[in-house]
């Protein structure tokens, strides 16, 4: 299969970025929007073409989807280790291309309406293009280092976009936090890469992931503290992935990242960048699975499950709709991680992997839709808070319907997209680990509950007094909503297990009716509860909140994780490390050097007294010297 045209997919956004970035001041805002959208349209078309070519035209060879790659050396480390730049085409990268393209295109279109009149309009599109380029590069990466490079680039795009409203203090802090927390995770990632590079002698995915390859067969060669070094490396790499995907306990940046413009939240912090962690684990799945009997994979599963539960609980208590969505994202990402963690490799065993990718795909659609819908609402009422919203269904019918579809999808109501993917995840969990399964089911219920909590809160309930009448958003904003809603409905019917599986062979997926019924039932219970609590304004919710007492308070304060991190960062690192070091430097290190100088001056001042200018003193020194010398030469060294 000829894959050379795929290189154009990332190149186009890059060119757009450079164009918009360099001629920032000279391009009229209207034009820059079109440049961005059409650039991305080209990329999207190519992505779909590539997907079509890959899955249908070329198809399977010997029952397996082939992996294609094309690469060129970018930099040499040693004779064997080098960074390549290139593209790797296999089922998940093609799938990701489609996801990124679709969501990004929708967000571009949406932004033309949403950002209208903003002074940084062109800049915004430039950043979006930069992000899209980086994301394409990430999913197409052929080796660990290339993925790391684009990993950092999506990080910085995220930073720039969160801090887009750079005069807002909260936005600056959020951007900084997002970057530094993910950077901290990347520290682990980088060490993991270094370990892999050193012990396996390659960064290349194809070599690393080959189940018959030396890497996977020889994982036990070296061990450190009871685990093989490769396992350690995988755990460290997972830390990197957990940072990007906002897994507990590195999740704290994601809610704050909502300070960015809403389209950005939809694109980066819901649909694409945050799934990079999931993608990374999926990318290295054979290693995770085969090395040391999947020890690292278990960690992934538990971290995923815990994050899903943790985030869902917090989401119930938040009042800022974007934050609810952010925690929901975190929860769903936990779901994906969990699914990867319980997955097997071959055939139907690999249902977890497939489910994870499937959920990634469907989630991207409906979560982007939710965010864009929320953006539409925020655009209308100029507030993020539930208390300022209510009864909007009359004013914003399209937004209402699309938001409802998305909420139903995420709640797992059949036959919407979320139902299918979530069901597969629960099947995988059920077969592998009952504890995780129960957590998964519980989270499904919670998800339905909090989602409908905000849905009812926004579109039903009592009408608020608005400064000016909310009205439906323009076509540029509603069109993407409609498209995404359509996808949220239909995406579930894609026979995903045919295309994206761990062993690339595909299998027949069947609906497991009892489990599906349980999941759907739980979801419906959540929706009904939300109906009772929030359909009409009543005090029920407050009473129950009181009943939970401190638990509710903790959850609404996000279990104080922000405070703990702030404490560590501000009080310990800043006050107890950085400040003392700065003082130490000034006082002792510099002090020593200055001290040496001062002592020299002081000594010279003292010695200067000897050179008094008094003849008598000199004469005395002379006489004394003569006497001493005479003594020495006469008695000590007579000869």
């Amino acid at each position: 299969m000829d894959i050379s045209y795929i290189i154009l997919i990332p190149i186009i956004p890059l060119v757009v970025f450079l164009l918009l970035g360099i001629f920032n001041q000279k391009i009229k805002p209207g034009i820059s929007g079109y440049v961005g959208v059409f650039g991305l349209l080209a990329s999207t078309t190519l992505s779909f073409y590539a997907a079509y070519q890959y899955f249908f035209v070329y198809g399977k060879v010997d029952g397996v989807f082939q992996t294609f790659s094309e690469k060129t050396v970018w930099m040499n480390f040693t004779d064997t280790l080098h960074i390549d730049m290139g593209i790797l085409v296999d089922p998940i990268s093609v799938m990701m291309l489609v996801v990124v393209s679709v969501v990004s295109l929708m967000v571009h279109m949406y932004s033309r309406g949403y950002m209208k009149g903003d002074e940084g309009y062109t800049k915004f599109f430039a950043f979006l293009s930069l992000f899209t380029f980086s994301m394409y590069g990430l999913v197409l990466a052929t080796n660990l280092f290339q993925i790391y490079i684009f990993w950092e680039l999506v990080g910085v795009s995220s930073y720039l976009l969160i801090g887009y409203y750079y005069t807002k203090t909260a936005a600056i802090a959020a951007a900084k936090k997002a970057f530094i927390v993910t950077r901290f995770a990347d520290f682990g990632f980088l060490i993991g890469i270094l370990i892999i590079g050193f012990y396996t002698g390659t960064f290349d995915f194809e070599t690393l992931n080959n189940p018959e390859g030396s890497v996977i067969l020889n994982w036990a060669a070296t061990s450190f503290m009871g685990l093989s070094v490769i396992t350690w490396a995988l755990i460290l790499i997972f830390i990197g992935g957990a940072g990007k995907s906002a897994m507990f306990p590195l999740h704290i940046w994601l809610p704050d990242a909502m300070e960015g413009p809403t389209p950005v939240s939809a694109l980066i912090h819901a649909a694409t960048m945050v799934v990079a962690g999931v993608f990374l684990v999926a990318r290295l799945f054979p290693m995770f699975y085969f090395v040391e009997d999947g020890f690292a994979l278990n960690i992934v599963a538990y971290v995923g499950a815990f994050s899903a539960l943790f985030a869902a609980i917090i989401a119930i208590t938040q009042t800022d709709i974007k934050r609810v969505l952010a925690f929901s994202t975190m929860s769903q990402l936990g779901y994906m991680m969990l699914a990867l963690g319980v997955s097997g490799y071959e055939g139907h065993e690999g249902v977890g992997y497939m489910a994870s990718m499937f959920h990634l795909f469907t989630h991207a659609m409906f979560k982007a839709l939710l965010f864009l819908g929320a953006g539409s609402v925020i655009h209308a009422v100029h507030s993020n808070y539930l208390k300022d919203m209510g009864g909007l269904r009359k004013y914003m019918p399209i937004t209402n319907i699309t938001f409802l579809i998305a909420a139903l999808a995420i709640a797992g109501v059949p036959p919407l997209a979320g139902f299918w993917s979530k069901d597969e995840i629960l099947v995988a969990a059920f077969e592998h680990n009952k504890l995780i399964y129960y957590v998964g089911v519980f989270v499904a219920g919670l998800t339905a509950f909090y989602m409908f909590r905000i849905y009812f809160g926004i579109f039903w309930g009592k009408e608020r007094t608005y400064d000016h009448k909310p009205k439906e958003s323009p076509l540029s904003m509603t069109l993407p909503l409609i498209v995404l809603a359509f996808l949220s409905v239909t995406a579930g019917f894609i026979p995903f297990s045919e295309f994206v599986t761990a062993d690339k062979a595909g299998f027949e997926a069947h609906l497991n009716y009892p489990l599906a019924a349980v999941a759907t039932g739980v979801g419906l219970i959540g929706i009904v509860l939300a109906w009772i609590f929030y359909k009409n304004e009543n005090s029920l919710s407050d009473r129950y909140a009181k009943a939970f007492g401190p638990l509710y308070k903790w959850a609404s304060d996000k279990f104080y994780f922000d405070e703990i991190y702030m404490f560590v960062a501000k009080k310990i690192l800043f006050k107890r490390v950085s400040e003392p070091i700065a003082k130490f430097d000034k006082k002792y290190v510099d002090g020593t050097m200055v001290g040496i100088g001062n002592k020299t001056v002081l000594t010279s001042k003292k010695i200067k007294g000897i050179q008094s200018g008094k003849v008598q003193d000199y004469a005395f020194a002379f006489i004394a010297g003569v006497v001493v010398l005479a003594l020495v030469f006469i008695y000590l060294w007579p000869n």
Partner: protein, 495 residues
């Protein structure tokens, strides 16, 4: 006239012409022309080198040898390999950018530019020398004008800073001289005449006892100018007081002499000593890396932040050199280059911000992105480059260092490596802190609304420095391969 000696002759001619200039306009014109010629020569040298390298496999090419002090066998021996070529290019670019940044140097312009160019002579000479003594002479030539440049054209406690800088560097030179003489007097282990020629000495086997004795001296002597902890304290004060162009040249080029000297002299001539002592210097350099970064978090003066960041980044250079393998060394050289461009860029930007707002205190600045967008955007880019973002030179260099350092096995090395990798996080913290406080946020002072827009010469100076940063970051292969190839003989000497 051979292609290398021109690097000495052209600046000297520039100075001769400068002597006859009468005002700022003439002085800067002459300087610009002179530096442009130097840059042209440096670029030409790169191509000439690549061409020569294809047919010539000597360690050094374009060599030339003239005796200038027969009695002690001191020669004016010059020659270059890939490493010196790259560093010469760095110097030429930074000098030209420095001249552009000093466009409005109203006080004693002639004298200023003369000192600046004298400094560059020292640096050029240092990079092309193969003779230890000649190298040392050029080293001193480079250091001494710093005193004048800071003492006369500086700001703040300039006499103090100038004195501190000069004294510490001179102290280091004294130590270094002992080391060099130690090498010299043991350079004839196989009999024959004593020599200062590096290539000759490398062939002689200096006994281990001698190496053990003189390696620390040579290393520290060079490392002080490379801001080795705890001998770095001259750099924050020196940078803070120096005028913009001098800070640029100093951090961008002069501090590189340290790493280069360590590599060329200490490591190459005394490899066994290096192995013997490496652990202690690894500890010091790792401390420098982490400590510099942590210190930078707390500073409020832009120049101090940058100076501490230099301590951290150059700590990485020394750390990489001590890792004693090709990848790490490649990283060290690349980091030298990358840091050279980056800090020079930083100092140029800081100078521009200072000349407009008259403060370097970040707590007093704010919202600059709105009022001086060009400078601010470049500052963000420089910051991102500094924190090792892919696509910029810092990333390329750091990754080489880390991968190289990871080749060293053993718990000690691993811990040192991981500690030094942790700097990518800390660097992000202090860079983003500055960006957040100074460039973003609300405009703190109304007078900032009327700040002067960036001028063409500032733009030119900035772009001059930015292009290599991005160039190396995007396409590192040719440079990294050129350096790797030149490292080959050195690594063979080590094994």
């Amino acid at each position: 006239m051979d292609i290398l000696s021109l690097f000495i002759v052209v600046p000297v001619l520039t100075i001769l012409v400068l002597v006859f200039t009468r005002n700022l306009k003439q002085a800067r014109l002459v300087s610009v022309v002179g530096s442009l010629v130097q840059l042209g020569m440096a670029i030409n040298l790169v191509f000439a080198y690549l061409k020569e390298r294809a047919i010539n496999s000597d360690i050094m090419v374009f060599t030339k040898d003239v005796v200038w002090f027969e009695q002690f066998n001191i020669h004016y021996t010059i020659g270059v390999d890939g490493i010196s070529v790259a560093l010469l290019l760095l110097t030429a670019i930074v000098v030209l950018a420095g001249v552009f940044i000093s466009w409005k140097m109203y006080d004693l312009p002639k004298e200023f530019f003369i000192s600046l160019i004298v400094l560059s002579i020292g640096v050029y000479g240092f990079f092309i020398s193969i003779d230890l003594f000649t190298m040392f002479v050029f080293f001193e030539i480079a250091v001494i004008p710093m005193y004048l440049l800071i003492g006369i054209w500086g700001s703040g406690p300039k006499e103090y800073s100038a004195m501190k800088l000069t004294l510490m560097l001179m102290g280091a030179s004294a130590v270094l001289l002992v080391g060099i003489l130690g090498i010299y007097f043991n350079s004839n282990a196989d009999g024959g005449a004593l020599t200062f020629n590096i290539l000759e000495i490398a062939k002689a086997n200096i006994p281990f006892e001698v190496q053990k004795l003189f390696f620390p001296l040579t290393f520290i002597g060079f490392a002080v100018i490379g801001a080795l902890f705890p001998f770095h304290t001259w750099s924050p004060d020196g940078h803070a007081s120096a005028p913009t162009a001098v800070s640029m040249l100093h951090a961008g080029v002069l501090m590189k002499l340290g790493g280069y000297g360590v590599f060329r002299v200490a490591m190459y001539l005394l490899p066994e000593g290096a192995l013997h002592w490496s652990w202690i210097f690894i500890i010091l350099s790792v401390i420098g890396v982490v400590y510099g970064a942590f210190s930078a978090i707390k500073q409020t003066d832009l120049k101090y932040i940058n100076a501490y960041s230099s301590v951290s980044h150059l700590g990485l250079v020394l750390f990489a050199l001590l890792m004693l393998n090709k990848t790490a060394w490649n990283g060290a050289i690349l980091q030298s280059l990358s840091h050279g461009f980056m800090t020079a860029l930083f100092f140029a930007l800081i100078g521009m911000i200072y000349s407009r707002t008259h403060t370097r205190d970040i707590t007093k600045l704010g919202g600059l992105l709105k009022v001086i967008p060009f400078i601010s955007v470049i500052y963000v880019i420089a910051g991102l480059a500094s924190l090792g973002l892919p696509g910029f030179s810092g990333f390329v260099a750091e990754m080489n260092i880390f991968v190289g350092a990871f080749q060293q096995e053993g718990l000690f090395m691993r811990i040192a490596t991981i500690l030094s990798v942790s700097v990518i996080v800390i660097t992000a913290v202090y860079i983003l802190r500055v960006v957040g406080i100074m460039l973003m946020g609300p405009i703190k002072n109304e007078s900032y609304l009327t700040l002067e827009k960036v001028t063409w010469y500032e733009r030119f100076g900035i772009l001059l420095l930015l292009i290599p940063i991005v160039g190396i970051g995007v396409a590192p292969l040719w440079l990294s391969d050129m350096i790797l190839e030149s490292l080959q003989p050195f690594i063979q000497g080590l094994l």
